[in-house]
Amino acid sequence: MILTTNSPVLIPLLFLVFGLLIPLIAWKRNSLAWPTLMLVSTAAAAISIYNVFKVLSTGPVHYHLGNWVPPIGIEYVLDHLSVFVMVVINVVAFLVLIHAREIVGKEMPGKQAPYFATVSLMMAGFNGIVVTGDLFNLYVFLEISSLSLYGLIAIGERKSPVAAFRYLIMGTVAASFYLLGVGFLYMTTGSLNMADVKAILPSIIGQPTVLIALALMVLGMGIKMALFPLHGWLPDAYTYAPSTSSAIIAPTGTKVASYVMLRVMFFVFGVSYVAKTLPLAAMITWMAAIAIIYGSIMAIAQSEMKRMLAYSSVAQVGYIALGIGLANPFGLIGAVLHVLNHAVMKAGLFLVSGNLRFKLGHSNIFKLDNTVRKKMPWTMAAFTVGALSMVGLPPMAGFFSKWYLIRGAYSSPSWTGWVFIGVIFLSSLLNAVYFFRIIEKVYMKPLTASKNGANGHDHNDHHAAGHVVEAEVPRDEVSGSMLIPTLVLAVGLIVLGILNAFIVNGIIKYIIPAGM
């Protein structure tokens, strides 16, 4: 069957084709842009889930593009890691895109067609990165997705083109570094195919060229991943982008970049080179540790919710990088699981901020008060679940990522492991600060209204103050198409938390490369 034999290439292909089709179809009828995108997004989500089952039952799938045999031809590989990341980005994008229909109409009226077309291109790029087995092909898809990203960010607020421009400069530098690294690898190994390079490398591993190649590729991916101190583009980009862009980029963009880093470090160069011969993995863990603390502290200082979530993402990317850098099984499990968990959490939280902007016109934390709870109870409930998960409270998913990361840190040699445990510890508390601040604001009466009731005064005073303020605020929740994805993501956090052992045993265990 065409579908099943070609399934590796189908998703990027579909998104590419539809990237063209959407403007064409929308030229006829503008309102058809979103349904067309949903069509391809649903297909992509379904195919990615199918791919998971395929890989779990029959093992990794190798697909030769155009029937050219690798290493001369380009090869698409579905192994456990790629299907895992693929299903994460496609399903999360699917949910965010359901939400997108109304809010794109509000934030960018009339521009639905080009916007959705760009989204389709971006998804093509991401899926291509995840599924390709060829180093240069990865660069091509990387640039496809990046260019779309710049466009998606630039359609936002007044300052968004500047943010997009900055991201463009940094992103192009990053991709160029990656390309240079690929160039070095090609010069020394003569091949562009990942598996082939992996086979050839051990014989030339001592050469400085190889070292530089690795460094360049990791550097490039570090910029794309927004690993401290290469994160400078992220806060502005996520803040000024339109709600849907933030909601779709935050869960996917940095995850795909971390996927590339994982792939290059552990599957091309090999664990022993990266972790034992070079101190690269160790360096990454330290940068990650700083990222975690820095992101959490900066998040506390923010007054705008999207900016706060952006810095929070910097910290969460730090978690993933920490897991990668620890280079032991539990660290890797923690990192990969956190790819899933963080994608779901951040998507949910950005959708919440989107809902707030849709109804209230802003998502400024200090302008929130408890009328929001009455107006949008379900949205705030979803926010609470997301917040509890970010802080790391069981049984939500966020707890389990931290659990595995702590176990991974525990297994690492000497005192460094304890430092990382301390970092995770501290960041959880810092997370609690900036999330509970919002929860307090939204769920409690404003403090000014009941100053009389403080410090154990007479009950009479308290009675009088306590009953004046509770005016009736009408329910003004966002509509179903926006609410349901938000809630699905929130509930998903609880479900993913409880079922995490199945996910770990089912897929993630197989991702652990030999030699770890």
Binding site: G151, P161, V162, F165, L168, I169, T172, S176, L179
Partner: protein, 140 residues
């Protein structure tokens, strides 16, 4: 090998390095947005030159099979084309793609620059940041 040989022998790579540094300098130190873009383009070009330089072989010609060789293979006189006669075409094809990517990036970049100019009426980074800050203040 002697230092002179080292420098002159690897002149292509030195060129790459110099161009990269010029590009980075342009991106970081220039205040005009368009000049930053120029720097970025130079940076990308340096990498293209690197690849192309890596494709070169001594005494080789362009990778187009000449009729003599094709005849030889057809008549079974040689088993395969001697690759040492032709430079490596693969980096060239890769770089075609990279050039296209570069062009697209430049296109998007200039679209952004136009947008920025329309909104802020300046292409100077320092002035731009100031005007953005004023935006901030008027927002709050």
């Amino acid at each position: 090998m002697t230092t002179l040989e080292f420098i002159l022998g690897h002149y292509a790579y030195w060129l790459t390095l110099v161009l990269m540094m010029i590009g980075l300098y342009g991106m970081m130190m220039k205040r005009n947005l368009v000049k930053k873009l120029i720097g970025m383009t130079i940076f990308q070009v340096s990498i293209i030159i690197f690849y192309v330089a890596g494709a070169v072989k001594w005494g080789a010609t362009e990778p187009i099979l000449d009729n003599v060789d094709i005849e030889k293979v057809h008549h079974g006189m040689t088993q395969a084309i001697s690759t040492a006669k032709y430079i490596n075409p693969l980096p060239h094809t890769l770089m075609l793609t990279a050039i296209v990517v570069g062009v697209a990036t430049t296109g998007v970049a200039f679209a952004l620059v136009i947008m920025i100019y329309k909104r802020y009426k300046t292409l100077d980074e320092a002035v731009l940041l100031e005007r953005m800050k004023k935006d901030n203040d008027s927002d709050n």
